[in-house]
């Protein structure tokens, strides 16, 4: 049981890191687009 919860904690941290990574990519790519067209 405790192991299950620990794993849940780990999985939720992993998924959040993944989401943040996607947001970072969007920020960089969109930044590049803005620079390209200004």
């Amino acid at each position: 049981a405790a192991r299950f919860l620990e794993e849940e904690e780990l999985r939720s941290q992993q998924i959040l890191e993944q989401l943040d990574a996607h947001i970072e990519v969007l920020k960089m790519e969109s930044e590049r687009t803005v620079k390209q067209f200004t």
């Binding site: 998924i15 943040d20 969007l26 067209f37």
Partner: protein, 53 residues
């Protein structure tokens, strides 16, 4: 200019999605913890019953 606005608009939108996902993940962790708490409780009652017999 307009592009910058669009960019910040999209970045805000994914931020909101992330917030929704955060809430969902938090709730599912709560549910899992609740499920385990009831499980442990049932075990204890079961054992107590057995001890009495």
């Amino acid at each position: 200019k307009a592009l910058e606005e669009m960019r910040s608009h999209y970045i805000k939108a994914v931020g909101k999605i992330k917030g929704d996902m955060l809430r969902y993940i938090h709730e599912s962790k709560e549910r899992a913890a609740e499920m385990i708490r009831t499980e442990v409780l049932r075990e204890r009652q079961e054992t107590a019953r057995r001890m009495r017999k």
